[in-house]
Amino acid sequence: MLIKVTTDELRPEEAIAAVASPAAGAIDLFLGVVRDNNLGRRVGYLVYEAYPSMAEKVMAEIAEEAKATFGLEECAVLHRTGRLEIGETSLLIAISSGHRASAFDGGRWLVDTIKKKVPVWKKEVWEDGEAWIEGPESMGMQQAPAGLRG
């Protein structure tokens, strides 16, 4: 099981290779990518910060739970930290499974759960300021800045 928090660029080929299995008929890959806008604001770049050792531990626990719950063959979860430009990949998840339904279900659950539980934070940097984004948008909140600082 490939689990990693790293400042290096995330490579899809590495995640795909890590979940390869002769019994897998489906691989689902999810990339969280830095978008040029959020809540109507233009984003310049993002800075991700993690509690790396705990983040890897929680990511591994979530991956094990996904494997057991969805009957997956293998999982890989990688999160990048540091400064990320528009278009760069912050989160990379790969899942292999016998059939595609569990690959899609497992992939979605994994991404949702990672965004709720893994100790990683992002700061948005705009032309005229920056803010830490606190709380996943999946918890029913808009993903709004915790505070503005010009």
Binding site: G32, Y48, E49, A50, Y51, S53, M54, A55, K57, H79, S90, L91, V111, I114, K115, K116, K117, V118, P119, V120, W121, K122, K123, W132, I133, E134, G135, P136, Q143, A146, G147
Partner: protein
């Protein structure tokens, strides 16, 4: 015999609260048997400006999420976890 010897706790701060504190790691001396909430109050006594972050914090003791009534063992690492926003 060591009952009253102070307990050392390493408090880790991240993201917004780390920036506000100007620190990512603070050593705190507490007393044996104290909980996460007790250690948090010791921190706020030293740094009252951090109080506004408390309502949304979660806590991890030695990399496990805990409630604030968990007892803090000697030498523990207590992480103050703002609402996460990875992904």
């Amino acid at each position: 015999m060591a009952y009253n010897r102070p307990v050392t706790v390493t408090v880790l701060l991240f993201a917004s609260i780390a920036e506000a504190a100007g620190a990512r790691r603070i050593e705190i001396a507490s007393a044996p048997g104290e909980t996460v909430a007790d250690v948090r109050e010791r921190l706020l006594t030293e740094r009252p400006a951090l109080r506004r972050f408390i309502p949304t914090l979660m806590y991890a003791l030695n990399e496990e999420y805990v409630r604030d009534d968990a007892v803090v063992p000697d030498g523990a690492t207590l992480a103050l976890i703002p609402p996460v926003s990875g992904g």
